[in-house]
Amino acid sequence: MPEDPIVDVLIIGAGASGAAMAWSLADTRMHIVCLEQGGLMNPLEYPSTGRDWEARAQGDMSISPNQRNLPSDYPINEDDSPIKVANFNGVGGGTVLYAGHYPRFHPSDFRVKSLDGVADDWPIDYDDLAPYYGENDRMTGVAGLAGDPAYPRDNAHRLPPLPLGKSGQILAKGFNKLDWHWWPSDTAIITEDYDGRAKCINLGACGSGCAQGAKGSADVTYWPHALRAGVELRTRCRVREITVGEDGMATGAIYYDGNGDEQEVKAHVVVMACNGIGTPRLLLNSKSEQFPDGLANSSGLVGKNLMFHPYTSIMGVFEEETDGYAGPHKAIRSQQFYETDADRGYVRGYTMEIQRGHAPVRTALSGFRNGRIPWGADHHTAFRRLYNCMAGMVAVCEDLPEEHNRVTLDPDLMDGNGIPAPKISYTLSDNSRKMMDHAVARASEILTAAGAVDILSEAPIPWGGWHLMGTARMGSDPERSVVNEWGRSHDVKNLFIVDGSIFVTSAGVNPTSTIQALALYVADQMKSRLANLFD
């Protein structure tokens, strides 16, 4: 029998959410095709295999697409934002470059409106996602420790926690002096051999790709399983637009292959997994007579409510040696200031993620930026004062949705295939500024208690737009949301979105485990409704 020229499910994007969705749907035996604009990664080509690894981390493996400027990247106009976008385009997406910090949301994160009177509640809650968090942890391989009093009890399978190291011990003592919470981080870095992958050997270069394969990037976790199960992955394929039929249903996509040739794929279901910038960009580029304002945009909310996490960096200089750059950046976290306390003058809160220290180049650049290392003869003494003597933390501050923070299409800027590029317009809210100030002050107390003799801080971290959320939010009201409570477009009943775009609020933790748990949840919803998926 000839193969149906129309694929059952077309997934656009092979990052965190696309990988999880592909793997979950594979057991249906449907014909699933995933289009990814980047290539398949080769860990042995990652920067940490070479002496120039810190240079490459700011070059061809930079977190900034504008800095990398690879053929697989699209440019982003971010002139109108104090926080610049970090992403990666390739199989694994942003997880190729993420640090692997893998905490879950708190139950309160799904009820922000009810609890604090701001933003909106999610249409689902922590209990809805809990089984998918567990399944996602199992697929990814997560190090950590059960029993954190900042979270509800769970029965997640965890590998032993990452080592405390010198830096973790120094900072743990600081937290303990103040009687403040800390706990070993849940981290997508395996501390024992797991699922055919070798354990972490403390390369210290997690942020530019893990050559060991110990970090749970989606290319080494979900994709090998999805491919073995029959999912078809087409790399170097950049989608220009989602196509629609006269009935208003999605019919597939038009894309450019690696040779730059235009191709079309037809599909019964389209799933978007392109992150909080790429998804609204593609929807806004998919204009038609039926959808003149972009696809799935009857609410007018596609691209709006962009949330980053405003990050602050607070690093201490100690008289004793720290871990420097050896080991995964994260060891422990604190959620002492996570939940709302009205006395603080702002709502919501943040997670403190411990940073072990910096490699030489990053030490020097931090010293330049903070005026601790001069140009000239005093460079060496000043450098040695900081090198292997720094440890501290970043604060991941919850960002609240505001419609004026948005992704639009740039009228002039285009990618290598001539597709209009996204433009980011973003301002920090008063709430975020107060939260960052609070984080810097509390972190400084911790570092001082831990024995720091100097403190360097930066708020926000200008290049720290790692987390891209909110630009196609989920909800039960079609006038106030883009997708419903199980990820289906209100307007186009065979179009689904599963990336960070559908977040209603951002919480104060790294989003990847929630993005992937959501993708698994949406996939299960689809599987349980196959008979009436488009009703």
């Binding site: 009820r111 405390l164 800390w182 050997i201 060496h380």
Partner: protein, 152 residues
């Protein structure tokens, strides 16, 4: 020196700047960043920023001409210092880029890494040791009551 697309004058200006940013040190037994082997690193990394580097060097020469009537490479050390100070204040992005490339090239040199007590090798495949640490530090936190916020 490996091949570079920068002109001899541009490479000379970058070498002078690199040595101004990180000069040699007898105390620590390390070369300056203008050392030929280190400049090979710097010039190789600078290629991907070629347009911005050339614009920065052009701005540097404009300041040199305005302040001293000659291009940067023809100035004496004291004049270069004053021009560099003006350059850093007026063209921070360009100056930061050159400083960034300088330390990227400098801190992967064998002599420099050895002087810092580092093994002159990439992180992979050997990796590093990180001590497990004293987990009894967690004991007081284990005693805490759950403090996450209930939603019901």
């Amino acid at each position: 020196m490996t091949e570079t697309t920068f002109t001899e004058t541009e490479a000379r200006a970058l070498t002078i700047l690199a040595d101004m940013i990180v000069p040699a040190s007898d105390e620590y037994g390390v070369p300056g960043a203008g050392d030929p082997a280190i400049m090979d690193n710097i010039l190789a990394d600078a290629e991907r920023h070629r347009a911005r580097i050339i614009a920065a060097l052009s701005a540097l020469d404009d300041i040199a001409r305005k302040e001293h009537g000659a291009v940067f490479t023809d100035l004496d050390p004291a004049q270069r210092d004053s021009v560099a100070e003006t350059f850093r204040a007026a063209h921070a992005a360009g100056a930061d880029l050159i400083a960034n490339l300088t330390v990227q090239g400098y801190y992967r040199d064998d002599r420099v890494m050895t002087s810092l007590g580092m093994e002159p090798r990439p992180p992979h495949p050997k990796g590093y040791e990180v001590e497990q640490g004293d987990w009894s530090l967690l004991d007081p936190v284990r005693q805490r009551e759950a403090f996450y916020r209930e939603t019901e």
